[in-house]
């Protein structure tokens, strides 16, 4: 830049604006004169003195995280690595979903414990080393500082969200004859209604953690069924009790404004007192007041729970919306999402009405969020009913949102992806699933995939669909990409993969898959292990494959012998033993196969006839007479009906010494008095 010295001086003194001003002046000066300096410096071919203005770029104000964001965007996901949160300790890389859960929860609970200690004993953590000061490292104040009975004390308790203490102070104030201001009372009412007249659980409290984990499973179910985000504390069974503190305080209030009514209505809806909420709304109208948009949203969400019939539900929704319009309340996104959510409970009416609702949104210029589309899919793809026949809704939705980047505007936004993937899976449309997955990569959309549970549901469905529909090469590509960095498949997922391998005749990959199964900790799932063995043993493969299968079968065998990390070992079954034996036989490992055969006896299982026949065949190839006789002996010891048949075969097909023949005959006599063996010896 020209004359840097002048500007440096200016910069020191002047504010940014002044500097820019100076620079502008300088630019103007230069463009009019077309000085030599310009000619020397300019790289453009503009003729000097042209009237074209040089537009200086505006000073770019960098956000404090802009640099980091740019850097972060250069880092791609490493499909072979565990999640970043486990980075610190490679020993604790999770390999199964259970470990993932355990380790991540442990980390979280460690943090919470530290926080709890700091907040419980703030006096030991007063030293402030940081320069500049870092507020979030300092203990938070959870103990009220004002201890007398005053409105300030009440306000402080409300600020600290101590519901019970606040109510106590309020009562004492009222008893003392002090009037509490409307503003403060409304705040108290907000607090009471929001937490349903219970003390909220603090994030760092140990008892909260326990409750959270216990509820976690149920919560997930509830979440999916109701499609509604709930905190663990809501589920412990907070309901709106008759005449609770909120209602009592509400009734005590000498004057009530709209906010008091609205808060109470929202609280009632939140804690399930739907009918009451509507009667409270009627009271509000009788007092010639109007509700705010959030209250209407709550009422719309509550509407289907107060009526029995589908059309009555819808009529109530429409009536509420009309009242909104009459009261000149501007609806927002959440209003329409609440309507659509309620429509999910309206059965057959929902399809046409939901589209009209969507058009209403469009007319009002309200951009739909992912939750809107989630509700639409929920309406058009009901789980069990198909009264109306096929629909193209998912295609239309995807056409609409493809390539867009979304931000969260509704708590329900995070259910879209997993539900849409469910639809893809039900339609078995792999192309659609790819589009959906593509959408996930768009902008910040991955953030809307939800928590770890939602994420595993999404990828689980995706992988299931891939296994079902996709060519095995693509399946394996995705398999390597998704597992285990994004998704830990369950045993059913592995089963699907095995079936995909089977369908595309790539059974030779099984040993490799087995290693993953072992790593994923599914070796204790009997049906999966048996399936692996059965698939390997079913067909004869090329020698190399047979050799690797044999190695793999021995690895599988070890699962039966010792439990994996303290787990109980699997119980041998006849088919598992048989499959391992025949796999070893086919690889020509007689000795080991014979060893497995002994396990039948030890585990009280009986080998199949076909297996013994296969064994005999092998013995014949090797001209191993002793083995053949041992085999017959074994068959005899199981008192198989086919013993005699084997014996005769051995006699016919092997070149036996006299001694061997003799022992064989002895065996014959010993083993069988059945007619079958008699006839055979006769024929001889």
């Amino acid at each position: 830049m020209a004359a840097p010295g002048v500007h440096a001086g200016l910069q020191l003194f002047g504010s940014t604006r002044r500097l820019l001003h100076k620079l502008d002046k300088c630019a103007v000066f230069r463009s009019y004169t077309g000085s030599c300096a310009l000619n020397q410096n300019a790289t453009t071919a503009l003729p000097a003195g042209s009237s074209e203005e040089i537009v200086l770029p505006r000073k770019k104000k960098w956000d404090k995280i802009a640099v980091l964001q740019a850097l972060a965007s250069t880092v791609n996901r490493d499909p072979t690595a565990a999640h970043y949160m486990f980075q610190d300790d490679p020993y604790l890389f999770p390999k199964t979903s259970a470990e993932f859960k355990l380790y991540s929860l442990s980390q979280e609970s460690g943090r919470n414990t530290a926080k709890y200690i700091i907040n419980t004993y703030p006096k030991y953590f007063q030293k402030d080393y940081a320069e500049p000061h870092i507020p979030c490292l300092m203990p938070e104040a959870f103990e009220p500082q004002i201890n007398d009975i005053s409105e300030d004390a009440l306000n402080e308790r409300i600020q600290l969200r101590q519901v019970k203490a606040a109510v106590d102070i309020f009562d004492q104030l009222i008893q003392g004859g002090t009037t509490v201001s409307l503003e403060t009372t409304n705040k108290l009412l907000d607090l009471l209604c929001f937490y349903g007249d219970r003390d909220p659980v603090r994030d760092d409290q140990p008892e909260h953690k326990e409750a959270d984990e216990v509820e976690a499973v149920q919560e997930d179910f509830q979440k999916r069924q109701k499609g509604r985000l709930r905190k663990a504390s809501d589920l412990i069974g907070v309901v709106w009790r008759e005449n609770n503190n909120a209602e009592r305080i509400f009734n005590l209030m000498p004057e009530k404004n709209e906010r008091s009514f609205c808060s109470l209505i929202r609280g009632m809806v939140k804690y399930g007192a739907y009918t009451k909420a509507f009667s409270m709304y009627a009271d509000l109208l009788n007092n010639r007041m109007t509700a705010d948009v959030h209250t209407f949203n709550a009422l719309l969400a509550a509407a289907p729970n107060t009526r029995e019939k589908y059309n009555e539900k819808w009529e109530l929704i429409v009536e509420t919306l009309n009242q909104m319009s009459e009261q000149k309340v501007q609806p927002n996104l959440l209003t329409f999402n609440a309507v659509l959510k309620s429509l999910r409970k309206c059965g057959s009416l929902a399809r046409t009405q939901s589209l009209q609702t969507l058009n209403e949104m469009k007319a009002l210029g309200i951009e739909p969020s992912l939750a809107t589309f989630d509700h639409l899919l929920g309406i058009f793809y009901k789980a069990a009913s198909s009264v109306r026949g096929p629909t193209d809704m998912i295609f239309e939705v995807l056409d609409e949102i493809e390539g867009k980047s979304f931000v969260a505007r509704d708590p329900d936004d995070v259910y879209f992806f997993s539900n849409a993937m469910r639809v893809c899976l039900d339609l078995k449309d792999v192309e659609l699933a790819y589009r959906l997955h593509q959408l996930l990569g768009e902008g910040e959309n991955w953030k809307l995939l939800g928590d770890a549970f939602q994420q595993s549901v999404f990828y689980g469905r995706f992988f299931n669909l891939l296994c079902m529909m996709e060519h095995i090469d693509m399946v394996m590509k995705w398999y390597k990409d998704l597992i285990p960095s994004l998704y830990y498949p369950n045993s059913q997922g592995m089963m699907d993969l095995l079936q995909a391998l089977d369908t595309d005749s790539r059974l030779d990959l099984i040993p490799q898959i087995w290693k993953d199964i072992k790593q994923l900790g599914h070796t204790n799932k009997a049906d999966l292990v048996e399936e692996v063995l059965a698939l390997m043993a079913r067909d004869k493969q090329s020698p190399e494959v047979q050799a690797s299968f044999a190695d793999c079968s021995l690895a599988v065998k070890s699962v039966y012998e010792v439990g994996d990390r303290g787990r109980t070992a699997l119980e041998w079954t006849a088919s598992a033993l048989g499959n391992i034996t025949s796999l070893l036989l086919r690889a020509g490992r007689m000795q080991e196969a014979w060893g497995i055969l002994q396990l039948f006896k030890a585990n009280n299982r009986i080998p199949g006839e076909a297996l013994l026949a296969e064994f005999l065949e092998c013995a014949k190839e090797r001209r191993d007479n002793d083995l053949a006789i041992d085999l017959v002996k074994l068959a005899a010891s199981f008192s198989l009906t086919t013993t005699a048949k084997f014996a005769s075969r051995v006699k016919e097909e092997f070149l036996l010494s006299e001694e061997q023949k003799k022992s064989l005959e002895e065996l014959d006599v010993l083993s069988s008095d059945s007619s079958d063996s008699d006839s055979d010896s006769d024929s001889e």
Binding site: H294, P390, A408, D429
Partner: protein, 401 residues
């Protein structure tokens, strides 16, 4: 779905009627995948593998050997002749072995060429595939069986001769062996015939064929449409999605946002009305709603930089771009000269003398002190001013003021 169905069919084959033995394996060689099963023309190659139920119930599978065989034999007939050649080998191991082998043989039909021809013709009329033209698979199979009976005598004389030669080499039950062999061969041939016809007729037949191949007995063709249907793939109930729907590749492109609206709210958005309400302090409800939305999208950092972003937001990390004056917000608007040039604050002091001299030294020190704010420096000077004013008398006496 269909691929899985086949698998199921082959697995359960022992329990299912012979119809279920017609299993079809579709191998898609393309990297880019079909949009749905309906858009068949995408496929480059289809194999129709006919397995005949093995006596020992060994599940039928598409082994690698088979695919080789497919490449070699471009027409069904060569497949059959191959079968003949192989027939001769297993003589000594008896009837069972022979039957085993026969049944394990699969007649491959490479339909690639036929298919491409079909494709060009099909692609013109593809969007208009009528449901009527697609027969229900049950009837399809019935047709197949009747055709099978009709073609009983169509085997070539050489094959029959070969079969009887094999049979005559058997130690016993010669006639029975021969008839069994012939039966197997006929099965191959008739199956091939059926499919040859089927393919040239209509792709829809194949699809319908596959669909019902799953459970031929369980579904009657005139099942009510709104009955709940169970999906075998383990997903539970599924939607009634007709074959027709799968075919309309050119979907009616109707946007989501066309059609009637509720007409409840006035479409003109007058923002003036909402504004007065916005100014009020956010209530607990508002804060919590915002918190809830933030919580659902809160993810753990995926890499070190994201972790640093998180720390920056928490205030634990030095902010980018690096700035020496981070954390000195209080002083950020104060220009440096107010720190350095403090002379202007000495106007109330005497113009000369020891006090003046002292104060000049004080401001000299202050101007070099980076740890005090300007306000603190002023307070410092202020303190001296007051001090000297209080001591004015004494100073004047000692003539220092």
């Amino acid at each position: 779905m269909y691929r899985r169905i086949i698998l199921l069919a082959t697995r359960n084959r022992s329990g299912i009627s012979p119809i279920a033995e017609h299993s079809i394996n579709i191998t898609n060689q393309q990297e880019t995948k079909r949009t749905s099963v309906s858009t068949c023309p995408n496929r480059q190659r289809m194999h129709y593998n006919k397995g005949v139920c093995a006596p020992n119930n060994r599940p039928f599978s598409t082994s690698t050997a088979l695919s080789k065989e497919n490449e070699e034999s471009s027409a069904p007939k060569t497949g059959v002749t191959e079968a003949k050649v192989k027939e001769e080998e297993p003589r000594k191991s008896g009837k069972e072995n022979l039957l085993d082998l026969l049944s394990a043989m699969k007649v491959g039909v490479t339909t690639k060429k036929k298919f491409q021809a079909l494709k060009s013709q099909k692609s013109k009329e593809q969007p208009r595939v009528h449901p009527e033209s697609m027969e229900s698979a049950t009837s399809m199979f019935q047709k197949a069986t009747t055709e099978q009976q009709a073609q009983k005598e169509s085997l070539s004389p050489e094959l029959v001769a070969a079969a009887s030669a094999v049979a005559s080499s058997m130690p016993f039950k010669k006639s029975q062996t021969e008839s069994e062999l012939l039966q197997q061969l006929r099965k191959h041939e008739s199956d091939t015939e059926v499919h040859k016809k089927g393919e040239t007729n209509n792709i829809g037949n194949i699809i319908a064929d596959m669909k019902v191949g799953k459970h031929p007995n369980a579904r009657s063709p005139n099942r009510p449409a709104n009955q709940i249907r169970f999906d075998d793939d383990g997903r539970g109930y599924t939607h009634d999605r007709g074959v027709v729907n799968e075919f309309d590749a050119v979907r009616r492109r109707k946007s989501l946002f066309t059609g009637k609206r509720l007409n409840i709210f006035p479409s003109t958005t007058d923002t003036t009305e909402t504004e007065p309400k916005e100014v009020s302090v956010p209530s607990l409800w508002d804060i919590e709603l915002a918190g809830q939305i933030a919580a659902v999208i809160k993810h753990l950092p995926r890499n070190g930089f994201e972790e640093m972003i998180q720390w920056t937001k928490d205030g634990k990390l030095w902010q980018y771009p690096i700035n020496n004056e981070a954390g000195l917000e209080e002083e950020s608007d104060v220009p440096f000269h107010e720190h350095v040039f403090l002379d202007s604050h000495l106007e109330d002091f005497p113009k000369q003398g020891p006090v003046r001299h002292f104060m000049e030294l004080v401001i000299n020190g202050l101007s070099k002190n980076p740890y005090l704010t300007v306000k603190q420096k002023m307070e410092h000077i202020e303190w001296f001013r007051e001090y000297f004013q209080q001591k004015e008398e004494v100073l004047k006496e000692s003539e220092a003021y």
